[in-house]
Amino acid sequence: MRGCLAIYRRELLILKKKFFRQLASMSVGPLLYLVAFGLGMGQGVQVQGRSYLEFLIPGLVAMSSMTQAFAIASEINIARFYWRIFEEFQAAPIRNIAYVTGEVLAGITRALLSVVVILLIGLLSGVSLSYNIFFWLAVVLNSFLFASLAVGLAMVVKSHADQALLTNFFITPMAFLGGTFFPVDRMPVWAQKILHFLPLTHAAKIIRSSAFGLTPDRFSYLLLAGLGTMLFVVAFLCVNKAKE
């Protein structure tokens, strides 16, 4: 437990040192999407009986919690390949599970921070939705899943460039196709079937349902929790891969 808290504490210190830079970087993307898609393109457009801006905000929450949780991989890579601090953790008497838990918690923290930024931007744009327990549970599960994926991948990649490649091939397409900017059910049936395999599709669906005050789909929660746990175990198993 102490080892996990030490890892988490270090990541928080790093986040604190770069807090305003991080905050600015977390705000730029959602702001652009809100202006371009919400205020520009989506003006007067109704989706699922709501204004497009109301539809967009939960989608951005899902996307941002994914990208910010996944961004912990970059921090790990910098520590591993650039500053070589990963050696310091490996020489310490802490278990692999403590290391993974500390980093995943740091990923979730970053994700939650980015979600708060989006909700504030949404409030300033006049969008007020229901941010209830189901909403936050979905956000945490989505962040947990992608932070676990990030830690696992960060352990097996051989360079920072490999990590960027994975982001370009998996995270960016998912960000656009996982029900963030448009309802998945508007896609052709064959595409819908494929998109239902993406965890972000489920995350966007339940985050949106909760935010709209509807009953979210339990299966999606279970799926995110199950897949997240599986990826957490994989990340734990991958730590030894990074050893040599």
């Binding site: 504490r9 210190l13 310490a92 050893k243 040599e244």
Partner: protein
Amino acid sequence: MIRIEKLTKNYRTIQALKGVNLQVNEGELFAYLGPNGSGKTTTIKILTGLANPTSGDAYVHGYHVVRETLEAKRQCGLVPQTINLDHELTVDENLDIHGRLFHMSARERAARIDELLDYVGIRERRNSPIKHLSGGMKRRVMVARAMMHAPKILFMDEPTVGLDPTIRRRIWSLVKSIQQSGSTIFLTTHYIEEAEFLAERVAFLDEGRIVAVDTPQNLMARLGTWALDEIVNGDMETIFFQSREEANRHLGKQQGGFTLRRVNLEDVFLSVTGKKVVP
């Protein structure tokens, strides 16, 4: 204190260690010498839990480095070859995180940080981010960090590489004082004079094998006391003598074209391997 038995390590097609056997005693300052790529860092990585051996056994303070890895790690402090401090964080924060990783309480950490900052002479920079420190200061922070949890054994992998001679000597004094406080020190270096000055015993490693282990004095005495370097047919040859008189007799009336000097550890390494200990 450190026991290594038939240790091997393979990296794909490269055999980095080929059956190393070694014993380092408690309180000893032991130097592990060899050219780059000879397996020095690999040995340290295995002993500190950063790499697993392919075969063989290694124990630190009685704990097996693989089977009892957490206990073994608690006994070790590591000063790695490359500076691996958190550059965004301050000196204090770097030491504090290390203390947390080694399960020290808040009170223990605060007291130890105060003590170590004085010890390595860097107290006035405790709140400076690492990125604002000089190379020598960073090295001293690395030594302080490795000593934070009061390890039984301190592993120092090329601790003075890239430092200017003045700073290097400052680090040497620090290493000596750490040893005098009762710690066992396992030092790798390719600076021969560093090993000669610091070490009580040395081991020479060449292509993954230990080729000689003894005190620097005994190893050098095997060759003689004086070494005569001279150019013979375009190649430098070194001849060893037990006394200066013997060397003078050999030289006869020869004027110039030679250097007469004391035997050093590099001569020992050359004589057992035919190679120079330089990067």
